[in-house]
Symmetry: C2
Subunit: 199 residues, 2 copies
């Protein structure tokens, strides 16, 4: 680092902090940015700051949004009887891409992980609970990840919500479409068998 | 992209322009940056703009520098009789890391590539030629990359500089240290044989 001009070293250092970016990649990115026009570099810099300054959490569903409430919560065409609970704003996008879910969302911003000190207080669970009194609501779909933490979160939410007389469902586990039985892990296969449906 | 808040989409779009960053990586980076504190995000944004605004080419060696002339060109301890010609500012750093070269540098900012429309005018060759009249100079070491373009550049420079009575040398080709003869390509092996030295 010593060998580069100070602003270049600084840029390499900052880029190295990005996930999956080692020193070599950081150098490559830094010199790419230096070769770009100043306006292109400024566009990236501005986008980084704007993403921070111009987005906030929707006060209802906790998704990242420009305006509060977000367009999902505003949209009266969406099915108000369903809330799909996800860990991350990216999961909302993944589900939207199926084009088959038209209910509401709730973003937890993580999953229960005692190992990392993430308890219910660190997640947007309080905010979820406050939405459950809506008279339209009938079902909460828990779409946390199929990981240990995601399952723990799902179990925790089910225990919390079921006593309120709401239906709580979990997205199905099974073989990914296009997958190969032979290469599926045992747990997935077990879940696929358990979740079998009549044809 | 449609599904994210506009500033987030914009950030993902800008990050996607970086080399080796596909849409998935861009999303991952964007959400990483959103999870960072605002001041961390601003630090990266500032580093990007500063690298543009606070560095320029050294008027002598064309390396990226904060002040002109750069610290290599300023340093009277360095051997004024040697100029090592490289393609890229990163190559200067690579050579500095050997801690065994104490001459001057010249950065071409590329290599001759007729396919990409890069001729001698697009490189800092004119600037190199103007340095060759220095009374101290005895040898020009051409350390362009061992690629077709790098070799063409080396040959071009040799033809240009030799008539001026200066020694022009090319860095050696051969097996990388720690490499394996069995896995070396034929051309490298051929060059290693040609360049053999008495023990």
């Amino acid at each position: 680092m010593l060998y580069y001009a100070e602003p270049v070293s600084k840029l390499i250092e900052e880029l190295s902090k990005l996930p999956g970016v080692g020193p070599k990649t950081a150098q490559r990115l830094a010199f790419f940015l230096l070769r770009q026009s100043r306006s292109d570099a400024v566009a990236l810099a501005r986008a980084i700051v704007d993403a921070h300054d111009k987005t906030k959490y929707c006060s209802s569903c906790m998704n990242l949004t420009e305006r509060d409430p977000c367009r999902f919560c505003c949209d009266e065409q969406r099915d108000q009887s369903l809330i799909c609970v996800v860990e991350d704003p990216r999961d909302v996008v993944a589900i939207e891409k199926t084009r088959d879910y038209h209910g509401l969302y709730h973003v937890l911003h993580g999953s229960l992980s005692p190992m990392e000190g993430i308890g219910p207080e660190q997640l947007k669970i309080k905010e979820l609970m406050s939405r459950l009194s809506s008279p339209h609501l009938r079902e909460v779909i828990v779409a946390s990840n199929p990981t240990v933490e995601g399952e723990a979160t799902a179990a925790y939410l089910a225990r919390l919500i079921k006593p309120m007389g709401l239906k709580v469902t979990r997205i199905a586990h099974g073989l990914p479409v296009g997958g190969d039985l032979e290469y599926a892990d045992q747990v997935t296969l077990l879940r696929a068998l358990e979740g079998r449906r009549e044809l």
